[in-house]
């Protein structure tokens, strides 16, 4: 039934509880004295933040949650009235607007002010300006962790030592100072062992989409699956438990030859298997998802679910070299890859997941993703022979989500795949 709420899986319930507990902890920092770190998802140092007993707040998650809760238009408007250009990233403006409106989090309570801004600046120049803007609002130290870009398609020893040295000589001492806790490498190894277990299970879940039918949607569903890993929980027992639970559920779906769960319940038929490049739109997330689900289109792999790490390409945090692997992790996130690497990764997804085609959702706000995507489109069509589609929207600015246009384009795109299939048969 359209619009019906699908029954929540146990893993979803678990994740919901984890998030609720995190926000409750944030709301209680005045009582508990816990310190708060604002930082970003790509290249996040979650294990380290947890190591020092601090709590992360992720401004881009605030922004996307505001988008999903229908608050971003108001927040963007507040920021634009305060002088922020209509041309720039709407995550930033949503966050700034939210801040000016009282910084009310998803629980309805104000988020605590940061004790530290960790500018882990991976794959996005806007992060740099974002935290310069936030610095104006808060009286707290800022750590700049410069993460070099893989311009030449590799992580060189010099890049690695640059990042590792910054973590060792700048980040950790500052964390120690703010938290009053000493860094303990043995304890960090333990955390990383937990990270690895969760990472293994996440990869298993993402790779389950190779099955036909795919038991998961790797983009719309995928954004939920990456939640605990990319935000506050990597390196915790909670994350291990969540991914164990998720894996078991997906295994059950695979055994039963079931497709993914969609906003309207069980997907009925897998007609199109797609790879998607780019982030989703958050303001009309469910409506957007339905445009695919109604047509039997399942996303079997996506680049967006790799912004917080390329685990499926083999990366794991390394308990034997915690700081070195943090450096590798930061530099290995998707938006820190150069264009040839990004294109090659998408090509492999298309082939390995036996996709019928690929789609680019080009978002206005994110130049890191979007600039040059049209070249990726051409190159992938050339390399794979599979049809490529191109739609445009935004992350959290509802003014840039035109449902009719997107639906139209998607319908034409699915027709293109059909035509290609017929051509292949004849």
């Amino acid at each position: 039934m359209k619009g019906a709420t699908a029954e929540k899986d146990a893993s979803m319930q678990k994740q919901k509880e984890m998030i609720a507990s995190h926000f409750t902890e944030l709301a209680r920092v005045k009582d508990t004295g816990k310190k708060v770190v604002y930082t970003f998802v790509p290249g996040n140092l979650t294990e380290l933040i947890n190591h020092f007993g601090m709590l992360p707040v992720l401004p881009e998650i605030n922004a996307l949650q505001s988008g999903m809760r229908g608050k971003s238009a108001e927040y963007i408007s507040i920021a634009e009235k305060a002088g922020h250009s209509e041309d720039v990233c709407t995550y930033v403006k949503t966050d700034i607007g939210m801040l000016k409106a009282g910084n009310i989090g998803p629980t309805g309570e104000p988020l605590p002010k940061p004790d530290l801004l960790l500018l882990s600046y991976t794959g996005c120049f806007t992060f740099l300006k974002w935290f310069e803007l936030l610095r104006e609002e808060y009286d707290c130290p800022v750590i700049m962790l410069h993460v070099p870009y893989q311009g030449e398609g590799e992580i060189t020893p010099e890049m690695r030592s640059y990042v590792a040295d910054q973590i060792r000589e700048v980040v950790i001492p500052q964390f120690e100072k703010v938290s009053g806790v000493k860094y303990n490498e043995e304890r960090m190894r333990e955390q990383m062992r937990l990270s690895v277990r969760a990472e293994d299970d996440l990869v298993w879940v993402l790779n389950s989409a190779r099955a036909k039918p795919s038991p998961i949607d790797s983009w719309f569903g995928g954004v939920y699956y990456i939640g605990p890993m990319f935000t506050s929980f990597r390196g915790t027992q909670d994350a291990v438990d969540y991914y164990t639970m998720l894996r078991e559920e997906v295994q059950e779906r695979m055994d039963a030859k079931l497709g993914p769960v969609t906003p309207d319940g069980q997907a009925k038929e897998e007609k199109y298997r797609l790879v998607v490049e780019g982030p989703p739109n958050w303001t009309s997330f469910r409506e957007f998802w339905r445009m695919f689900a109604d047509e039997g289109a399942v996303i079997v792999a996506s680049s967006y679910t790799k912004v917080g790490g390329l685990y499926d390409r083999g990366f794991r945090h390394n308990p034997d070299d915690p700081i070195g692997s943090m450096a590798d992790y930061c530099m290995g996130c998707y938006t820190n890859l150069n264009f040839p690497q990004r294109t090659e990764m998408l090509e492999r997804y298309i082939n390995e997941f036996q996709a019928d085609g690929f789609l680019i959702n080009s978002v206005k706000s994110c130049n890191s993703f979007s600039a040059g995507q049209l070249l990726i489109l051409r190159e992938l069509e050339k390399r794979t022979g599979r049809p490529g589609g191109f739609i445009e929207s935004d992350l959290v600015d509802p003014r840039y989500f035109s449902a009719a246009n997107i639906k139209n384009r998607l319908e034409s795109y699915f027709q293109m795949i059909e035509a290609k299939r017929k051509g292949a048969k004849s």
């Binding site: 250009s85 990233c89 120049f125 803007l133 870009y149 890191s368 445009e392």
Partner: protein, 396 residues
């Protein structure tokens, strides 16, 4: 007008005609000619804002600034690579490249400035396989032991790779010699900037701008001579002083404004006495040490003594105060923010700088442009109103 003034005016006209011809040279003929004048000469194209040109020079190559096509090139293929919400600059760079106009360049350097230019580096790798293309990650950590070491390694990589093209090894001595000739250029540009600050009526904005742009095409020694001669003669030309206000301009450090826009500002009653046009040409304003370790000296120049700009992290948190001080030092009556449309660094920086000016009581106004903007009436009215308001009431 005296004979001296007439002679000076005529020579100034010739110098600027030469600079304007360089500006118009979208086929980079001057680079091709330079290459033909010697054996195995190579040219390395670089994008805004800053690359250490001394390293390219020391490797025996010509650093060539790629600043887009402004309003002088029809974008035929460039638009098909970028969505409507991406700035104009990469479109014209791609257009220049795919139309063969950049063939004179034997390699390309893309310094870290924003996500668009960063991605463009990878696009070049895919589109022009076989051409050396390097992304120069400038450090955002300004500790000599951390960012400094990383940056020196980046510079050595460039030296090695350009050296492979030219067959020249970049020794410390060669690099020190290059620093010396670039220091001479810095001295000349300081004279130009200061002359314009002190006597803006003697150096029209357009002349000043064309002289800066020439830095990106001419061999450095030739450019130094050109600037020195211009500055010397400008004091003799007897140009009349207009009743203009003095403005500082910010936001134009990457995609460049069309010449028509610069003329418009001056016609609207604004002398531009401080700016960030062609910023890489004078990013390190003071001389770089040419006695000690040249790699250390260049790293120190970038990390500790380069100008603030939106794509460089403000580690010390002093950019507000520094900007206000700069505006006062240059005796600007107000500030015009003119950023290219969709320029993330400039537009995200702007609210912070506006706040600093407002707190200091310094008037400001803002508009956006694109390198191919062709209609200036609205800008003329806005800049004119700004100038009139300052002249009449001392505030906008």
């Amino acid at each position: 007008m005296s004979t001296l003034a007439t002679d000076a005016s005529e020579r100034l006209r010739q110098i600027i005609a030469r600079a304007e011809a360089l500006y118009d040279d979208l086929d980079f003929k001057v680079v091709k000619e330079w290459k033909e004048q010697g054996k195995n000469r190579k040219a390395i194209g670089f994008l805004p804002i800053y690359v250490p040109r001394e390293v390219i020079h020391a490797a025996g190559a010509l650093p060539v600034g790629i600043m887009g096509g402004a309003d002088r090139i029809e974008i035929v293929r460039g638009d098909s690579y970028f969505q409507s919400y991406i700035c104009h600059f990469p479109r014209s760079v791609i257009e220049l490249a795919v139309s063969g106009r950049l063939d004179a360049c034997d390699g390309f350097l893309f310094p870290s400035i924003c996500d668009v230019v960063r991605n463009l580096s990878g696009m070049f790798k895919m589109l022009f396989e076989g051409k050396w293309t390097h992304y120069l990650d400038l450090p955002q950590n300004f500790d000599n032991r951390l960012g400094g070491r990383f940056y020196k390694n980046e510079m050595r990589t460039i030296a090695r790779e350009v050296g492979k093209l030219t067959g020249v090894e970049v020794t410390d001595k060669r690099l020190r010699d290059s620093i010396t000739v670039f220091n001479e250029n810095r001295t000349a540009l300081r004279r130009l900037v200061h002359a314009r600050r002190d006597r803006p009526w003697e150096i029209p904005t357009i002349d000043y701008y064309l002289l800066l742009r020439a830095a990106y095409l001419l061999p450095v020694e030739e450019h130094t001579a050109m600037v020195n001669e211009y500055v010397e003669l400008s004091a003799q030309a007897g140009r009349p002083r207009m009743d203009n206000i003095r403005v500082a301009v910010r936001g134009a450090f990457c995609e460049q404004p069309p010449l028509g826009l610069l003329r418009t500002l001056e016609r609207a009653g604004c002398y531009v006495v401080d700016d960030d046009f062609v910023l890489g040409s004078r990013f390190i304003e003071q001389d770089v040490d040419h006695h000690g370790d040249p790699w250390d000296a260049l790293a120190d120049g970038f990390m500790n003594r380069s100008l603030p700009t939106a794509s460089k992290y403000d580690q010390r948190g002093t950019k507000h105060a520094d900007f206000v001080q700069r505006v006062r030092d240059f005796k600007a009556d107000g500030v015009i923010f003119m950023a290219p449309s969709f320029c993330d660094p400039a537009l995200l920086d702007q609210p912070m700088l506006v706040k600093a000016l407002e707190n200091a009581g310094i008037p400001n106004t803002s508009f956006k442009y694109s390198e191919d903007t062709g209609q200036f009436q609205v800008i003329r009215e806005q800049a004119g109103t700004f100038a009139d308001a300052l002249k009449l009431w001392g505030k906008a």
